[in-house]
Amino acid sequence: MKQFVHRMVRFAGLLLTVWTLGLLASLVSPQVESTLVAKQSDWGHVNQKTLEWREGHVSPDVMFFGSSTCYCGIDPHALESHGLRGFSFCSNAQGPQHSTVLLEAALKDHVPAMVVLDLYPMLCTAPTMSAEPLRDWAVNGNLWTAPWRDAMLTMLRNAQDPFAAVQMLYFGLRNTWTPSGDRTKPDLHGSYSGLGFVPRSFPALEAVPETTPPSGRWSSTALAAVDAARRMCEQQGVSLVLLTPPQLVQQELEGRPSRSGMAWIDGNAWPSAKTPGFYYDDHHLVAEGAASYSTWLAAELNRQFQRP
């Protein structure tokens, strides 16, 4: 047994050496980096929005948290016509579990008047925190100081994704030495237009796709995350709005959170919610759709502001 433990320790030493060599090779070569660690990507523009937030020129009245339906469907600029400013902290596949962790960090940076949680139904059925948004933030994000670092570590713990720790460490160091620039895979169908918004330029649909709407049930962890968000907002005196994004093929979930203490806006009530020409798939809006939806949503949110 002693010999076994001795060999295991020696192997662990070699393993660390080989891994370190791999990371050093990644620093030198973009090809090695994308094979061994990850390829940085503009998809969702987490890099741009975190950079913009880090510069500290934004102090929004409304902060948005959610998934791709949020960052390509809601243009925070639309709030400006109501004298409000918004900012979107949305990323790919970001469910309520991730949003709540990021919200906690954001509230330490800035306390807005309102927080909107964009809840794409199928992301609310996940029983555990998925790794995709964590990796998006770890690989493409530019927020490495507290409280964001703590948020990433919380997501790391909950998503149980050891490799995201390697990515966080690697890109945290690498971004301080070399700008990502030419190593980043461009998003050919979305350009960053500020405040976290990424309008999409995919061809619009001509008809409603023939798919059966999936059904499901709110997971207990998603419910707990929404409840935690409610408590956080209550403590800070912030209004919390839960938002269901518009979908061409509407999904219905069972067991949604109770409405007490929170406003709920259904994006499917937007008059153009069933217009195929505003979507590029059954739930993502193209730029024109986002413009129309954002105008409608800004008016709805403004109405929430007017409430006593």
Partner: protein, 480 residues
Amino acid sequence: MLFNSVEFLVFLPLVFLAYWAIQPLTRTAAGLKTQNALLLVASYVFYGWWDWRFLSLIALSTVVDWWVGRRIHASRNARNLWLALSLGLNLGLLGYFKYANFFMASWVDAWGRLGVNVETSTLNLILPVGISFYTFQTLSYTLDIYRGKMKPTASLLEFAAFVGFFPQLVAGPIERASALLPQIQRPRTFDLTLAQSGLRLMLWGMFKKVVVADTCAPLVDNIFAHHEDYSGLTLIFGAVLFAFQIYGDFSGYSDMAIGTGRLFGIRLNTNFATPYFSRNIAEFWRRWHISLSTWFKDYVYIPLGGSRHGMAQTVRNTFVIFLVSGFWHGANWTFVAWGGLHALLFLPLLWKGQNRKHTAAPVQESGFPSWRDLMGMATTFSMVVVAWVFFRAESLDHATSYLARWGQGGLKMNTFSAAACLWIAVMMAWEWLIHIPAFRTWFTSPRRGMVLLRWSAYSCCAWFVVKHFHNQADFIYFQF
């Protein structure tokens, strides 16, 4: 608990250390009992992590079969009755949890086809993970005692540790009591070589599951779900990917189970032996899910008469085991069709008397197969891929519609994954290389430089396992 989970990464070292810490005590009967008790508790924690309520089913099956085993051995007149009790309980549990809804739906459907509307409600049942595996394991115990091939154990603890042994509890290999129980009954000593080979096997199994199978999984799911939208070539690609997905998934699990067993000084049987290098269907079935194939051969095929009573009965028995084997996989006609198709592919070999051809390893001394062998491998793999479509499809209509589109759309590919192809190539190339004697000797050489090279290779393998670890997808065979 999944092998590919963080919980298991904590659970395994803890159990491993506690298990071998007790080892010096195992020279006494009390010490061995303590070690087996630890194994049993660890196994129940491992299983209960998924759903503790179903531990009662394992416990019930364990207690009844242990008791029945003793009764069969002691009884002269009522042996058949005791065996019937064991069969009734195990097959009853399996039938209720796995097949009740299927039979009810088939009943309603059959009457519906005759124009009679029968109303029935379905049961809201959860299929207990691993029920097909551990019921077959306990059944082999009572059947072997009934046939006088082994004696029952007097210790319920030993028997419970055998049934519940966590590495293979939920997805096999299905171990025979005659192979595993004696290992539980005698003191184990720590074997450095065995433990190291166990770790290597665990790493390789994890690679096959996490890197290969889980990379293929989303593509396969997408292609099978939207097959109407894809060209024939894409559908063929989807079926081939599924062939490697299920191989990586299931053989990966088996490797991890066998490897984990070795860490505890217990040798489990090989479950997969490079099945995709088989040169005919009969060889494929000697190399795929070996523990299940041999179970059906020993407890169904041979008792039915095997191949001893002429061609007609041999054909009948062949169909019986393939259909039952298909049905064992799941309560769906697709699995029956999958089994039936394999039986049909087996028949020509039976008629020509070639079903026992190719018993030697497919990888030759030189490393290169003959053209004849290569053609055999390609043909066998193609047939297996066609059959996998039935296995993967949601329904028979889905399978036939999927296959009917194979000729459509020319050479257009709607979706492709270079990463999946690369990982499949790595997996298959390694499985070929490691069976070439000269390469094996070179790679396992104890020279210092080779040790460094080998450990570096393991480190790279571990890197990609960790990189792909986040999926934590269930194993396909958990549903069976």
